[in-house]
Symmetry: C2
Subunit: 309 residues, 2 copies
Protein backbone atom coordinates (compact mmCIF):
# COMPACT_ATOMS: atom_id res chain seq x y z
CA UNK A 1 0.00 0.00 0.00
CA UNK A 2 1.39 3.35 -0.95
CA UNK A 3 -0.33 6.55 0.13
CA UNK A 4 0.73 9.76 -1.51
CA UNK A 5 -0.60 13.27 -1.90
CA UNK A 6 -3.10 12.50 0.82
CA UNK A 7 -3.28 14.23 4.16
CA UNK A 8 -2.64 11.77 6.98
CA UNK A 9 -2.52 14.29 9.84
CA UNK A 10 -4.04 17.75 10.19
CA UNK A 11 -1.27 19.00 12.48
CA UNK A 12 2.01 17.42 13.49
CA UNK A 13 4.58 18.62 16.00
CA UNK A 14 8.28 17.86 15.66
CA UNK A 15 10.47 18.27 18.72
CA UNK A 16 14.09 18.71 17.69
CA UNK A 17 14.98 20.54 14.46
CA UNK A 18 18.17 18.72 13.45
CA UNK A 19 18.83 16.76 10.26
CA UNK A 20 15.99 14.30 10.90
CA UNK A 21 13.43 16.70 12.37
CA UNK A 22 13.98 19.22 9.56
CA UNK A 23 13.73 16.49 6.92
CA UNK A 24 10.45 15.21 8.38
CA UNK A 25 9.08 18.77 8.33
CA UNK A 26 10.07 19.27 4.70
CA UNK A 27 8.89 15.82 3.59
CA UNK A 28 5.57 16.04 5.44
CA UNK A 29 4.74 19.29 3.70
CA UNK A 30 6.12 18.29 0.30
CA UNK A 31 3.97 15.14 0.37
CA UNK A 32 0.99 16.89 1.96
CA UNK A 33 1.01 14.15 4.61
CA UNK A 34 0.46 16.92 7.18
CA UNK A 35 -1.33 20.22 6.69
CA UNK A 36 0.39 22.07 9.51
CA UNK A 37 3.89 21.35 10.83
CA UNK A 38 4.87 22.85 14.18
CA UNK A 39 8.47 22.64 15.38
CA UNK A 40 10.31 23.21 18.60
CA UNK A 41 14.00 22.96 19.44
CA UNK A 42 15.40 23.67 22.88
CA UNK A 43 18.23 25.67 21.27
CA UNK A 44 16.95 29.20 20.51
CA UNK A 45 19.50 29.66 17.78
CA UNK A 46 18.36 26.45 16.04
CA UNK A 47 14.78 27.70 16.31
CA UNK A 48 15.78 30.92 14.50
CA UNK A 49 17.48 28.95 11.76
CA UNK A 50 14.45 26.63 11.43
CA UNK A 51 12.24 29.67 11.06
CA UNK A 52 14.53 31.25 8.47
CA UNK A 53 14.53 27.98 6.53
CA UNK A 54 10.73 28.00 6.47
CA UNK A 55 10.47 24.55 8.00
CA UNK A 56 7.06 25.30 9.52
CA UNK A 57 5.46 27.01 12.48
CA UNK A 58 8.34 27.41 14.94
CA UNK A 59 7.18 27.56 18.58
CA UNK A 60 8.94 29.08 21.58
CA UNK A 61 8.12 26.11 23.82
CA UNK A 62 7.26 22.49 23.22
CA UNK A 63 3.85 22.69 24.90
CA UNK A 64 2.72 25.22 22.26
CA UNK A 65 4.09 23.00 19.50
CA UNK A 66 2.25 19.86 20.60
CA UNK A 67 -1.02 21.64 21.46
CA UNK A 68 -3.64 20.32 19.06
CA UNK A 69 -1.19 18.04 17.24
CA UNK A 70 -2.44 14.64 16.03
CA UNK A 71 1.11 13.35 15.80
CA UNK A 72 4.12 14.29 17.92
CA UNK A 73 7.54 13.23 16.60
CA UNK A 74 10.42 13.23 19.06
CA UNK A 75 13.56 13.91 17.00
CA UNK A 76 16.08 14.53 19.78
CA UNK A 77 19.09 12.44 20.89
CA UNK A 78 18.15 9.14 22.51
CA UNK A 79 19.18 10.32 25.98
CA UNK A 80 16.89 13.37 25.78
CA UNK A 81 13.68 11.59 24.69
CA UNK A 82 12.19 11.15 28.16
CA UNK A 83 12.71 14.74 29.26
CA UNK A 84 11.53 16.13 25.90
CA UNK A 85 8.23 14.28 26.21
CA UNK A 86 7.86 15.01 29.95
CA UNK A 87 8.17 18.75 29.25
CA UNK A 88 5.05 18.78 27.06
CA UNK A 89 3.11 15.71 28.21
CA UNK A 90 0.36 17.77 29.84
CA UNK A 91 -0.22 19.75 26.66
CA UNK A 92 -0.76 16.67 24.45
CA UNK A 93 -4.14 16.38 22.77
CA UNK A 94 -6.07 13.31 24.05
CA UNK A 95 -5.59 10.45 21.60
CA UNK A 96 -2.48 12.00 20.06
CA UNK A 97 0.02 9.61 18.50
CA UNK A 98 3.52 9.97 19.94
CA UNK A 99 6.47 8.57 18.03
CA UNK A 100 10.22 9.04 17.97
CA UNK A 101 13.13 8.53 15.59
CA UNK A 102 15.69 7.16 18.05
CA UNK A 103 18.36 4.70 16.92
CA UNK A 104 17.78 2.65 20.08
CA UNK A 105 14.34 1.35 20.93
CA UNK A 106 14.46 -0.55 24.24
CA UNK A 107 15.85 2.28 26.37
CA UNK A 108 13.72 4.90 24.60
CA UNK A 109 10.53 2.90 25.13
CA UNK A 110 11.39 2.63 28.81
CA UNK A 111 11.99 6.38 29.11
CA UNK A 112 8.90 7.39 27.11
CA UNK A 113 6.55 4.89 28.75
CA UNK A 114 7.31 6.45 32.12
CA UNK A 115 6.04 9.89 31.05
CA UNK A 116 3.50 9.38 28.25
CA UNK A 117 -0.11 10.23 29.29
CA UNK A 118 -2.50 7.29 29.46
CA UNK A 119 -4.69 8.65 26.67
CA UNK A 120 -1.84 9.13 24.19
CA UNK A 121 -0.74 6.39 21.79
CA UNK A 122 2.99 5.68 21.86
CA UNK A 123 4.29 4.03 18.66
CA UNK A 124 8.11 4.07 18.65
CA UNK A 125 9.99 4.12 15.35
CA UNK A 126 13.34 4.53 13.66
CA UNK A 127 14.05 5.76 10.12
CA UNK A 128 17.11 4.02 8.62
CA UNK A 129 18.15 7.21 6.91
CA UNK A 130 20.54 10.03 7.54
CA UNK A 131 23.70 11.64 6.31
CA UNK A 132 26.94 12.64 8.01
CA UNK A 133 25.67 16.22 8.27
CA UNK A 134 23.83 17.71 11.25
CA UNK A 135 21.52 20.64 11.96
CA UNK A 136 18.36 22.05 10.33
CA UNK A 137 20.22 23.15 7.17
CA UNK A 138 21.18 19.52 6.51
CA UNK A 139 17.54 18.45 6.19
CA UNK A 140 15.94 17.66 2.84
CA UNK A 141 12.55 16.30 1.82
CA UNK A 142 13.87 13.25 -0.06
CA UNK A 143 15.84 11.86 2.89
CA UNK A 144 13.40 9.01 3.54
CA UNK A 145 12.64 8.10 -0.07
CA UNK A 146 13.20 4.40 -0.67
CA UNK A 147 14.73 3.93 2.80
CA UNK A 148 13.44 1.62 5.52
CA UNK A 149 11.47 2.88 8.47
CA UNK A 150 11.19 0.46 11.37
CA UNK A 151 8.19 0.67 13.69
CA UNK A 152 8.38 -1.15 17.03
CA UNK A 153 4.77 -1.14 18.26
CA UNK A 154 4.07 -1.88 21.92
CA UNK A 155 1.93 -4.80 23.12
CA UNK A 156 -1.11 -2.48 23.46
CA UNK A 157 -4.48 -4.19 22.94
CA UNK A 158 -6.63 -1.08 22.54
CA UNK A 159 -8.33 -1.02 19.11
CA UNK A 160 -7.34 2.62 18.66
CA UNK A 161 -3.72 1.58 19.14
CA UNK A 162 -3.74 -0.71 16.09
CA UNK A 163 -5.34 2.12 14.12
CA UNK A 164 -2.61 4.50 15.29
CA UNK A 165 0.12 2.12 14.11
CA UNK A 166 -1.51 1.86 10.69
CA UNK A 167 -1.89 5.60 10.45
CA UNK A 168 1.73 6.23 11.41
CA UNK A 169 2.80 3.64 8.84
CA UNK A 170 0.76 5.48 6.19
CA UNK A 171 2.49 8.72 7.21
CA UNK A 172 5.97 7.28 6.71
CA UNK A 173 4.95 5.72 3.41
CA UNK A 174 3.68 9.12 2.30
CA UNK A 175 7.17 10.46 3.06
CA UNK A 176 8.58 7.82 0.69
CA UNK A 177 9.78 5.22 3.17
CA UNK A 178 9.29 1.46 3.17
CA UNK A 179 7.91 0.41 6.56
CA UNK A 180 8.82 -2.68 8.54
CA UNK A 181 7.52 -3.75 11.98
CA UNK A 182 9.80 -5.43 14.47
CA UNK A 183 9.99 -5.92 18.22
CA UNK A 184 12.26 -3.55 20.11
CA UNK A 185 14.89 -6.06 21.36
CA UNK A 186 15.36 -7.42 17.83
CA UNK A 187 15.68 -3.88 16.45
CA UNK A 188 18.39 -3.11 18.97
CA UNK A 189 20.45 -6.18 18.07
CA UNK A 190 20.08 -5.72 14.30
CA UNK A 191 21.06 -2.05 14.54
CA UNK A 192 23.97 -2.83 16.85
CA UNK A 193 25.41 -4.89 13.99
CA UNK A 194 24.46 -2.77 10.98
CA UNK A 195 24.92 0.68 12.46
CA UNK A 196 26.22 1.07 16.00
CA UNK A 197 29.31 -1.14 15.68
CA UNK A 198 30.31 0.32 12.27
CA UNK A 199 30.09 3.83 13.72
CA UNK A 200 32.08 2.87 16.81
CA UNK A 201 34.81 1.32 14.67
CA UNK A 202 34.91 4.36 12.40
CA UNK A 203 35.13 6.78 15.33
CA UNK A 204 37.88 4.64 16.84
CA UNK A 205 40.10 4.38 13.78
CA UNK A 206 39.76 8.06 12.94
CA UNK A 207 40.57 9.19 16.48
CA UNK A 208 43.45 6.71 16.65
CA UNK A 209 44.98 8.10 13.45
CA UNK A 210 44.86 11.57 14.93
CA UNK A 211 46.79 10.35 17.98
CA UNK A 212 49.61 8.54 16.23
CA UNK A 213 53.14 9.72 16.80
CA UNK A 214 54.66 7.69 13.96
CA UNK A 215 52.56 9.23 11.18
CA UNK A 216 51.51 12.86 11.05
CA UNK A 217 47.89 13.91 10.78
CA UNK A 218 48.64 15.68 7.52
CA UNK A 219 50.03 12.47 6.03
CA UNK A 220 46.88 10.62 7.05
CA UNK A 221 44.74 13.30 5.42
CA UNK A 222 46.92 13.48 2.31
CA UNK A 223 46.81 9.76 1.59
CA UNK A 224 43.31 9.15 2.94
CA UNK A 225 41.95 8.17 -0.49
CA UNK A 226 43.63 4.79 -0.03
CA UNK A 227 40.87 3.63 2.32
CA UNK A 228 40.84 5.82 5.40
CA UNK A 229 38.55 8.52 3.99
CA UNK A 230 35.59 6.11 3.82
CA UNK A 231 35.71 5.83 7.60
CA UNK A 232 35.79 9.57 8.09
CA UNK A 233 32.33 9.98 6.60
CA UNK A 234 30.41 8.08 9.24
CA UNK A 235 32.78 9.35 11.93
CA UNK A 236 31.54 12.85 11.06
CA UNK A 237 28.09 12.14 12.49
CA UNK A 238 26.70 14.05 15.45
CA UNK A 239 28.69 13.18 18.62
CA UNK A 240 25.84 13.77 21.07
CA UNK A 241 23.51 11.50 19.17
CA UNK A 242 26.11 8.74 19.07
CA UNK A 243 27.17 9.08 22.69
CA UNK A 244 23.52 8.48 23.63
CA UNK A 245 23.22 5.50 21.30
CA UNK A 246 26.14 3.71 22.94
CA UNK A 247 25.03 4.55 26.46
CA UNK A 248 21.52 3.29 25.71
CA UNK A 249 22.19 0.17 23.67
CA UNK A 250 25.05 -1.00 25.80
CA UNK A 251 24.36 -4.70 26.01
CA UNK A 252 23.80 -5.34 22.32
CA UNK A 253 26.78 -3.17 21.36
CA UNK A 254 29.10 -4.87 23.85
CA UNK A 255 28.01 -8.26 22.54
CA UNK A 256 28.80 -7.55 18.87
CA UNK A 257 31.91 -5.62 19.82
CA UNK A 258 33.19 -8.67 21.69
CA UNK A 259 32.58 -10.76 18.62
CA UNK A 260 34.32 -8.24 16.39
CA UNK A 261 37.40 -8.12 18.65
CA UNK A 262 37.58 -11.90 18.81
CA UNK A 263 37.51 -12.18 15.01
CA UNK A 264 40.06 -9.38 14.69
CA UNK A 265 42.39 -11.22 17.06
CA UNK A 266 42.14 -14.28 14.79
CA UNK A 267 43.06 -12.13 11.78
CA UNK A 268 45.95 -10.63 13.70
CA UNK A 269 47.21 -14.12 14.45
CA UNK A 270 46.90 -15.10 10.76
CA UNK A 271 49.00 -12.09 9.78
CA UNK A 272 51.60 -12.78 12.45
CA UNK A 273 51.99 -16.42 11.37
CA UNK A 274 51.78 -15.74 7.64
CA UNK A 275 48.60 -17.79 7.20
CA UNK A 276 47.62 -16.57 3.72
CA UNK A 277 44.80 -19.08 3.20
CA UNK A 278 42.88 -17.85 6.24
CA UNK A 279 43.26 -14.26 5.07
CA UNK A 280 42.23 -15.05 1.49
CA UNK A 281 39.15 -17.02 2.55
CA UNK A 282 37.92 -14.29 4.84
CA UNK A 283 38.53 -11.52 2.28
CA UNK A 284 36.75 -13.52 -0.38
CA UNK A 285 33.69 -13.99 1.84
CA UNK A 286 33.58 -10.29 2.65
CA UNK A 287 33.49 -9.48 -1.04
CA UNK A 288 30.31 -11.48 -1.55
CA UNK A 289 28.47 -9.37 1.02
CA UNK A 290 29.14 -6.29 -1.12
CA UNK A 291 27.36 -7.89 -4.07
CA UNK A 292 24.35 -8.66 -1.90
CA UNK A 293 24.15 -5.08 -0.63
CA UNK A 294 24.15 -3.82 -4.22
CA UNK A 295 21.64 -6.41 -5.42
CA UNK A 296 19.33 -5.39 -2.57
CA UNK A 297 19.42 -1.82 -3.88
CA UNK A 298 21.07 -0.56 -0.69
CA UNK A 299 24.07 0.97 -2.45
CA UNK A 300 25.28 2.08 -5.84
CA UNK A 301 27.54 -0.22 -7.91
CA UNK A 302 29.46 2.76 -9.35
CA UNK A 303 33.21 2.64 -8.53
CA UNK A 304 33.85 4.77 -5.43
CA UNK A 305 30.09 5.44 -5.46
CA UNK A 306 30.68 7.58 -8.49
CA UNK A 307 32.87 9.88 -6.41
CA UNK A 308 35.45 11.52 -8.66
CA UNK A 309 38.73 9.68 -8.77
CA UNK B 1 56.27 20.88 -13.41
CA UNK B 2 53.49 19.36 -15.38
CA UNK B 3 54.19 17.43 -18.57
CA UNK B 4 51.28 16.66 -20.85
CA UNK B 5 50.73 15.57 -24.43
CA UNK B 6 54.43 14.78 -24.64
CA UNK B 7 55.89 11.35 -25.20
CA UNK B 8 57.94 10.24 -22.19
CA UNK B 9 58.60 6.66 -23.33
CA UNK B 10 58.67 5.11 -26.80
CA UNK B 11 57.54 1.70 -25.56
CA UNK B 12 56.31 0.58 -22.16
CA UNK B 13 55.45 -2.92 -20.95
CA UNK B 14 52.83 -3.58 -18.28
CA UNK B 15 52.87 -6.93 -16.54
CA UNK B 16 49.47 -7.67 -15.03
CA UNK B 17 46.29 -6.47 -16.74
CA UNK B 18 44.02 -5.87 -13.74
CA UNK B 19 42.39 -2.60 -12.64
CA UNK B 20 45.72 -0.79 -12.25
CA UNK B 21 47.56 -2.29 -15.24
CA UNK B 22 44.64 -1.62 -17.56
CA UNK B 23 44.26 1.94 -16.26
CA UNK B 24 47.96 2.67 -16.83
CA UNK B 25 47.66 1.32 -20.39
CA UNK B 26 44.64 3.51 -21.11
CA UNK B 27 46.10 6.60 -19.42
CA UNK B 28 49.52 6.23 -21.07
CA UNK B 29 47.93 6.16 -24.51
CA UNK B 30 45.31 8.83 -23.80
CA UNK B 31 48.05 11.19 -22.61
CA UNK B 32 50.52 10.12 -25.31
CA UNK B 33 53.03 9.50 -22.51
CA UNK B 34 53.93 6.26 -24.29
CA UNK B 35 53.76 5.56 -28.01
CA UNK B 36 53.49 1.77 -27.71
CA UNK B 37 51.95 -0.11 -24.79
CA UNK B 38 52.65 -3.84 -24.53
CA UNK B 39 50.81 -5.94 -21.95
CA UNK B 40 51.15 -9.39 -20.49
CA UNK B 41 49.04 -11.23 -17.93
CA UNK B 42 49.77 -14.75 -16.78
CA UNK B 43 46.05 -15.57 -17.08
CA UNK B 44 45.28 -16.40 -20.74
CA UNK B 45 41.66 -15.42 -20.30
CA UNK B 46 42.63 -12.00 -18.93
CA UNK B 47 44.95 -11.60 -21.94
CA UNK B 48 42.00 -12.24 -24.29
CA UNK B 49 39.89 -9.69 -22.47
CA UNK B 50 42.73 -7.13 -22.52
CA UNK B 51 43.02 -7.67 -26.27
CA UNK B 52 39.29 -7.32 -26.79
CA UNK B 53 39.33 -4.10 -24.76
CA UNK B 54 42.05 -2.71 -27.03
CA UNK B 55 44.39 -1.97 -24.13
CA UNK B 56 47.48 -2.33 -26.30
CA UNK B 57 49.76 -4.93 -27.83
CA UNK B 58 48.95 -8.07 -25.81
CA UNK B 59 51.86 -10.53 -25.69
CA UNK B 60 51.79 -14.27 -25.08
CA UNK B 61 54.76 -14.15 -22.70
CA UNK B 62 56.34 -11.48 -20.53
CA UNK B 63 59.72 -11.67 -22.27
CA UNK B 64 58.10 -10.55 -25.54
CA UNK B 65 56.29 -7.75 -23.74
CA UNK B 66 59.39 -6.28 -22.11
CA UNK B 67 61.65 -6.71 -25.15
CA UNK B 68 62.65 -3.23 -26.28
CA UNK B 69 60.60 -1.50 -23.55
CA UNK B 70 62.02 1.67 -21.98
CA UNK B 71 59.74 1.25 -18.97
CA UNK B 72 58.45 -1.97 -17.39
CA UNK B 73 55.57 -1.61 -14.91
CA UNK B 74 54.90 -4.54 -12.59
CA UNK B 75 51.17 -4.43 -11.82
CA UNK B 76 50.75 -7.80 -10.13
CA UNK B 77 49.95 -8.65 -6.47
CA UNK B 78 52.75 -7.82 -4.06
CA UNK B 79 53.61 -11.49 -3.48
CA UNK B 80 54.06 -12.12 -7.22
CA UNK B 81 56.40 -9.19 -8.00
CA UNK B 82 59.67 -11.12 -7.65
CA UNK B 83 58.66 -14.02 -9.85
CA UNK B 84 57.05 -11.75 -12.45
CA UNK B 85 60.31 -9.84 -12.88
CA UNK B 86 62.50 -12.95 -12.71
CA UNK B 87 60.54 -14.50 -15.59
CA UNK B 88 61.51 -11.71 -17.98
CA UNK B 89 64.69 -10.28 -16.46
CA UNK B 90 66.92 -11.62 -19.24
CA UNK B 91 64.78 -10.01 -21.91
CA UNK B 92 64.98 -6.50 -20.42
CA UNK B 93 66.56 -3.83 -22.60
CA UNK B 94 69.79 -2.53 -21.02
CA UNK B 95 69.06 0.69 -19.15
CA UNK B 96 65.33 -0.04 -18.93
CA UNK B 97 63.46 1.53 -16.03
CA UNK B 98 61.61 -1.04 -13.89
CA UNK B 99 58.85 0.13 -11.57
CA UNK B 100 55.91 -1.42 -9.74
CA UNK B 101 52.59 -0.37 -8.26
CA UNK B 102 52.65 -2.48 -5.09
CA UNK B 103 50.93 -1.24 -1.93
CA UNK B 104 53.94 -2.40 0.11
CA UNK B 105 57.41 -1.14 -0.67
CA UNK B 106 59.92 -2.74 1.72
CA UNK B 107 59.14 -6.36 0.88
CA UNK B 108 58.72 -5.62 -2.83
CA UNK B 109 62.08 -3.84 -3.02
CA UNK B 110 63.69 -6.84 -1.37
CA UNK B 111 62.09 -9.25 -3.84
CA UNK B 112 62.82 -7.15 -6.93
CA UNK B 113 66.38 -6.24 -5.96
CA UNK B 114 67.24 -9.95 -5.87
CA UNK B 115 66.31 -10.47 -9.53
CA UNK B 116 66.69 -7.13 -11.32
CA UNK B 117 69.61 -7.07 -13.82
CA UNK B 118 72.52 -4.80 -12.91
CA UNK B 119 72.01 -2.58 -15.95
CA UNK B 120 68.30 -1.95 -15.29
CA UNK B 121 67.08 0.96 -13.14
CA UNK B 122 64.66 -0.06 -10.40
CA UNK B 123 62.43 2.81 -9.18
CA UNK B 124 59.63 1.42 -6.97
CA UNK B 125 56.31 3.25 -6.77
CA UNK B 126 52.73 3.15 -5.54
CA UNK B 127 49.73 4.97 -6.99
CA UNK B 128 47.25 5.96 -4.24
CA UNK B 129 44.35 5.24 -6.53
CA UNK B 130 41.96 2.42 -7.15
CA UNK B 131 38.36 1.38 -6.85
CA UNK B 132 36.65 -1.61 -5.30
CA UNK B 133 36.44 -3.25 -8.74
CA UNK B 134 38.99 -5.67 -10.22
CA UNK B 135 40.03 -6.92 -13.65
CA UNK B 136 40.88 -5.27 -16.99
CA UNK B 137 37.28 -4.08 -17.55
CA UNK B 138 37.52 -2.02 -14.34
CA UNK B 139 40.36 0.10 -15.74
CA UNK B 140 39.87 3.67 -16.92
CA UNK B 141 42.22 6.39 -18.10
CA UNK B 142 41.25 8.96 -15.46
CA UNK B 143 42.02 6.71 -12.48
CA UNK B 144 45.21 8.59 -11.53
CA UNK B 145 43.97 12.13 -12.19
CA UNK B 146 44.54 14.32 -9.17
CA UNK B 147 45.63 11.34 -7.04
CA UNK B 148 48.99 10.93 -5.33
CA UNK B 149 51.69 8.70 -6.70
CA UNK B 150 54.45 7.82 -4.25
CA UNK B 151 57.91 7.00 -5.57
CA UNK B 152 60.38 5.31 -3.21
CA UNK B 153 63.73 5.66 -5.01
CA UNK B 154 66.64 3.47 -3.90
CA UNK B 155 69.95 4.83 -2.61
CA UNK B 156 71.50 4.45 -6.08
CA UNK B 157 74.26 6.95 -6.84
CA UNK B 158 74.48 6.39 -10.62
CA UNK B 159 73.71 9.62 -12.52
CA UNK B 160 71.41 7.69 -14.89
CA UNK B 161 69.44 6.58 -11.83
CA UNK B 162 68.50 10.15 -10.87
CA UNK B 163 67.49 10.76 -14.49
CA UNK B 164 65.32 7.63 -14.42
CA UNK B 165 63.51 8.80 -11.29
CA UNK B 166 62.81 12.18 -12.91
CA UNK B 167 61.59 10.52 -16.10
CA UNK B 168 59.28 8.17 -14.21
CA UNK B 169 57.94 11.13 -12.24
CA UNK B 170 57.22 12.92 -15.54
CA UNK B 171 55.39 9.81 -16.76
CA UNK B 172 53.07 9.72 -13.74
CA UNK B 173 52.47 13.44 -13.97
CA UNK B 174 51.53 12.97 -17.62
CA UNK B 175 48.94 10.44 -16.42
CA UNK B 176 47.48 13.15 -14.18
CA UNK B 177 48.99 12.16 -10.83
CA UNK B 178 50.71 14.31 -8.21
CA UNK B 179 54.05 12.74 -7.37
CA UNK B 180 55.67 12.52 -3.94
CA UNK B 181 58.99 10.90 -3.01
CA UNK B 182 59.38 9.04 0.27
CA UNK B 183 61.60 6.33 1.70
CA UNK B 184 60.19 2.81 1.69
CA UNK B 185 59.91 2.22 5.48
CA UNK B 186 57.98 5.49 5.89
CA UNK B 187 55.70 4.58 3.00
CA UNK B 188 54.91 1.26 4.63
CA UNK B 189 53.99 2.82 7.98
CA UNK B 190 51.90 5.61 6.44
CA UNK B 191 50.00 3.16 4.25
CA UNK B 192 49.52 0.73 7.14
CA UNK B 193 47.53 3.52 8.83
CA UNK B 194 45.70 5.05 5.89
CA UNK B 195 44.99 1.95 3.86
CA UNK B 196 45.97 -1.46 5.23
CA UNK B 197 44.34 -1.16 8.65
CA UNK B 198 41.09 0.34 7.23
CA UNK B 199 40.84 -2.55 4.78
CA UNK B 200 41.54 -5.13 7.47
CA UNK B 201 38.86 -3.65 9.71
CA UNK B 202 36.37 -3.53 6.86
CA UNK B 203 37.05 -7.14 5.85
CA UNK B 204 36.71 -8.19 9.48
CA UNK B 205 33.40 -6.49 10.21
CA UNK B 206 31.82 -7.64 6.97
CA UNK B 207 32.90 -11.26 7.45
CA UNK B 208 31.79 -11.12 11.09
CA UNK B 209 28.32 -9.94 10.11
CA UNK B 210 28.02 -12.84 7.71
CA UNK B 211 28.82 -15.27 10.55
CA UNK B 212 26.39 -13.97 13.17
CA UNK B 213 23.75 -16.32 14.45
CA UNK B 214 21.71 -13.61 16.21
CA UNK B 215 21.06 -11.51 13.10
CA UNK B 216 20.45 -12.95 9.63
CA UNK B 217 22.56 -11.97 6.65
CA UNK B 218 19.46 -10.65 4.90
CA UNK B 219 18.74 -8.32 7.82
CA UNK B 220 22.30 -7.00 7.67
CA UNK B 221 21.93 -6.37 3.94
CA UNK B 222 18.46 -4.85 4.28
CA UNK B 223 19.46 -2.30 6.91
CA UNK B 224 23.02 -1.78 5.68
CA UNK B 225 22.36 1.88 4.79
CA UNK B 226 22.62 2.69 8.49
CA UNK B 227 26.42 2.48 8.36
CA UNK B 228 27.46 -1.03 7.43
CA UNK B 229 27.34 -0.55 3.66
CA UNK B 230 30.23 1.93 3.74
CA UNK B 231 32.45 -0.88 4.98
CA UNK B 232 31.35 -3.27 2.26
CA UNK B 233 32.84 -1.08 -0.46
CA UNK B 234 36.46 -1.42 0.54
CA UNK B 235 35.86 -5.02 1.63
CA UNK B 236 34.98 -5.75 -2.01
CA UNK B 237 38.58 -5.23 -3.11
CA UNK B 238 40.63 -8.03 -4.66
CA UNK B 239 41.35 -10.73 -2.01
CA UNK B 240 44.65 -11.91 -3.52
CA UNK B 241 46.04 -8.41 -3.61
CA UNK B 242 45.08 -7.83 0.00
CA UNK B 243 46.32 -11.16 1.29
CA UNK B 244 49.72 -10.27 -0.14
CA UNK B 245 49.65 -6.80 1.40
CA UNK B 246 49.14 -8.19 4.90
CA UNK B 247 51.70 -10.94 4.48
CA UNK B 248 54.27 -8.43 3.22
CA UNK B 249 53.70 -5.45 5.50
CA UNK B 250 53.29 -7.54 8.62
CA UNK B 251 55.25 -5.49 11.12
CA UNK B 252 53.72 -2.11 10.35
CA UNK B 253 50.22 -3.59 10.18
CA UNK B 254 50.59 -5.44 13.47
CA UNK B 255 51.84 -2.26 15.10
CA UNK B 256 48.88 -0.10 14.10
CA UNK B 257 46.47 -2.96 14.67
CA UNK B 258 47.74 -3.25 18.25
CA UNK B 259 47.14 0.43 18.72
CA UNK B 260 43.65 0.20 17.22
CA UNK B 261 42.69 -2.71 19.50
CA UNK B 262 44.02 -0.92 22.56
CA UNK B 263 41.96 2.18 21.78
CA UNK B 264 38.90 0.05 21.03
CA UNK B 265 39.25 -1.66 24.41
CA UNK B 266 39.20 1.78 26.05
CA UNK B 267 36.01 2.65 24.16
CA UNK B 268 34.48 -0.67 25.19
CA UNK B 269 35.26 0.14 28.78
CA UNK B 270 33.69 3.61 28.45
CA UNK B 271 30.50 2.04 27.11
CA UNK B 272 30.41 -0.60 29.84
CA UNK B 273 30.82 1.99 32.59
CA UNK B 274 28.55 4.58 31.01
CA UNK B 275 31.34 7.15 30.63
CA UNK B 276 29.57 9.55 28.25
CA UNK B 277 32.21 12.29 28.40
CA UNK B 278 34.96 10.00 27.10
CA UNK B 279 32.70 8.88 24.26
CA UNK B 280 31.66 12.42 23.36
CA UNK B 281 35.22 13.76 23.35
CA UNK B 282 36.47 10.99 21.11
CA UNK B 283 33.54 11.28 18.67
CA UNK B 284 34.00 15.03 18.51
CA UNK B 285 37.68 14.66 17.65
CA UNK B 286 36.92 12.13 14.92
CA UNK B 287 34.54 14.59 13.32
CA UNK B 288 37.27 17.18 12.88
CA UNK B 289 39.36 14.76 10.83
CA UNK B 290 36.52 14.56 8.30
CA UNK B 291 36.65 18.30 7.76
CA UNK B 292 40.40 18.13 7.13
CA UNK B 293 39.99 15.35 4.57
CA UNK B 294 37.45 17.45 2.69
CA UNK B 295 39.50 20.65 2.94
CA UNK B 296 42.48 18.74 1.51
CA UNK B 297 40.38 17.84 -1.53
CA UNK B 298 40.57 14.13 -0.73
CA UNK B 299 36.81 13.60 -0.61
CA UNK B 300 33.55 15.21 -1.60
CA UNK B 301 31.54 17.20 0.97
CA UNK B 302 28.22 16.06 -0.57
CA UNK B 303 26.01 14.14 1.91
CA UNK B 304 26.60 10.41 1.42
CA UNK B 305 29.09 11.40 -1.30
CA UNK B 306 26.10 12.41 -3.38
CA UNK B 307 24.89 8.82 -3.34
CA UNK B 308 21.11 8.78 -3.67
CA UNK B 309 19.32 8.63 -0.36
Amino acid sequence: MRVSDAMIFERIAILGAGLIGASIALAARASSAARVVALYDRDAEVRSRALALGLGEVCADSASAVAGADLVVLAVPVGAMGSALAACAEALKPGAIVTDVGSVKGAVIEALSAVVPADALLVPGHPIAGTEHSGPEAGFAALFKGRWHILTPLPDERPEYAAAVDRLEAFWRALGAEVERMDAPRHDVVLAVTSHLPHLIAFNIVAMAEDLESVTESEVVKYSASGFRDFTRIAASDPTMWRDVFLNNREAVLEVLGRFSEDLAALQRAIRWGDGDTLYDLFDRARRMRREVIEAGQDTPAPNWGREN
